[in-house]
Symmetry: C2
């Protein structure tokens, strides 16, 4: 029997990335083209179809070997109905993408949000390979999460499982309001946005830090300053790590996962981020919830989204 | 075809309760006899067998209709191996109860800890009937938890999922050490033990409260005083409820369950306990994690353990 292949689509605001995976989650070919968000829904959807057909045609595989297409998108998705409810950066609102693509491509299609597909990608073929139960943190502009139970994405009652960035972990006295409207969410301190805010606050109140010399502060400047020994920057990164570790101890008491996978831009801060997360986790999680449990960096980088999207066909 | 029945066993320190359930979780007959813990493991196991045979013989059902026996026990269990690892109140350590009972009774046997079986009982035939994803809190001497995913008990990596009582929720400045060795666990404030401790502390430091007149303070005295308008008692119950609500908001961000079920002795404190939990949950959980989600009292009372144990055969 000829090998089955799966195409994953990472639907972003500026580019659509597509990739072919085999049934072990190995990423074999990739292709990238512009999203053309400004030209509207129809053009974006046509582009997805075009790129999917293109990558299969350019590959050594036959169209018949393609068993399905999965797509991940930043935004709210209704997984059961296959609808992109709201994806501001591509201008989609209530687009029944699954039905449209299934008709155009003639193959089964599944969708999910970017945090969930990244989690599935890592669980399937990255840091979580071979592990059935893990929790994935994606530290970017926000803090995204994905819960993998028995090798599959867990959606919860209304598709909101894994909204780990909105765990309230910061004590009232230090808490600020999150974009979701609530106070003290993990995302307010452990995302790139949170780190930049803490750095700007430090500069504004006159803390002695090399960050005061920067014209613009991005998360990377804070990490670089921390690595260079700047104490203010180090304190900020440690604070981000502290609440990540604290949230992991809470997640462990609920779900007892074997592995926490941490990816996204902020996870590149360096070893000290992981060391602090592990220290806090060891401090707060009861002993039996530590045995055999690890906290590890994501392995697939930006490919996690494509791989996980391809995996939706097999693992959802 | 004749109806199938399942026997559930609630293995306690002083009494063994057994009950017959049909396949809808309806509890049809119950029987209770002494555990005789002091006579050792063999006698306790013989008693289980005796009571199981007795209740089926006394019922209108034939032995052939019995499809299996489930047992719940307070302590550490290895569900996969069917071993009671440590159950101090019945004096069991490393007892391969499943293998022993299967040989003696000649039917499939499953075991789990008391918090998990109570959760399954409520999910199967109590407050969670018809709901696939819920989280159950049992507020007794400690705070037990059970996670129900797709109608079944979720065990996690090492069988420790649902250890909700050991979520660290109390801020450092107010935290005390938990029996597990960690600081600020939910159990330190929201269990009967925690409530009694807070009451004693209040009396000792001279707070003006009717509790000062009690010879011995049990949780019930604190609830009664709170209902009668005692402000100190009310503050204590509200504090227990506050951290329950806070932990629920955290659980929701991870698992997005449809329902939180709250049972156990402390849940009898009264409506104000539930009102405060709901208020705090509404304050801390993002809006989409509130829609359609409820916090409800357990319905089965002490029978939850027997029903859930019987349910282990169908739902694990």
């Amino acid at each position: 029997m000829s090998e089955s292949i799966y195409v994953g689509v990472d639907l972003g605001g500026t580019a659509i990335k597509v990739g072919i995976c085999n049934e072990n989650g190995q990423l074999l070919h990739t292709y990238e083209g512009p999203t053309e968000t400004d030209k509207g829904v129809d053009v974006v959807v046509s582009n997805i179809e075009k790129y999917v057909r293109h990558i299969v045609e350019q590959s050594p595989y036959e169209w018949d070997q393609l068993k399905g297409v999965g797509a991940g998108v930043a935004g709210f998705t209704n997984v059961r109905e296959g609808v992109i409810v709201l994806a501001p950066n591509i201008g989609f609102r209530d687009v029944p993408i699954r039905a449209i693509l299934e008709e155009r491509i003639g193959k089964p299609v599944k969708i999910d949000n970017d945090a969930n597909v990244a989690a599935l990608g890592e669980a399937w073929a990255g840091a979580g390979k071979g592990i059935e139960n893990c929790v994935c943190y994606t530290l970017g502009t926000g803090v995204g999460g994905g819960i993998i139970i028995n090798g599959k994405i867990y959606q919860g009652f209304s598709g909101m499982a894994g909204e780990i960035g909105h765990m309230s972990v910061v004590p009232d006295l230090e808490a600020i309001q999150c974009g979701c409207g609530k106070m003290g969410c993990l995302e307010t301190v452990s995302s790139a946005t949170g780190i930049i805010r803490m750095a700007k606050d430090a500069v504004e109140r006159g803390d002695r830090t090399s960050l005061a010399l920067e014209d613009q502060i991005a998360a990377k400047e804070v990490f670089d300053a921390a690595k260079a020994g700047d104490e203010v920057a180090l304190r900020i990164v440690n604070r981000a790590a502290f609440y990540l570790g604290k949230s992991m101890a809470a997640v462990a008491a609920v779900l007892n996962p074997e592995l926490f996978i941490v990816g996204g831009g902020v996870s590149k801060a360096g070893d000290f981020l992981f060391e602090e997360m592990r220290r806090v986790y060891a401090k707060l999680a009861p002993e039996p919830l530590q045995q055999g449990v690890s906290i590890a960096p994501a392995l697939l980088g930006n490919d996690a989204g494509i791989v996980g999207a391809a995996g939706l066909l097999l693992r959802s």
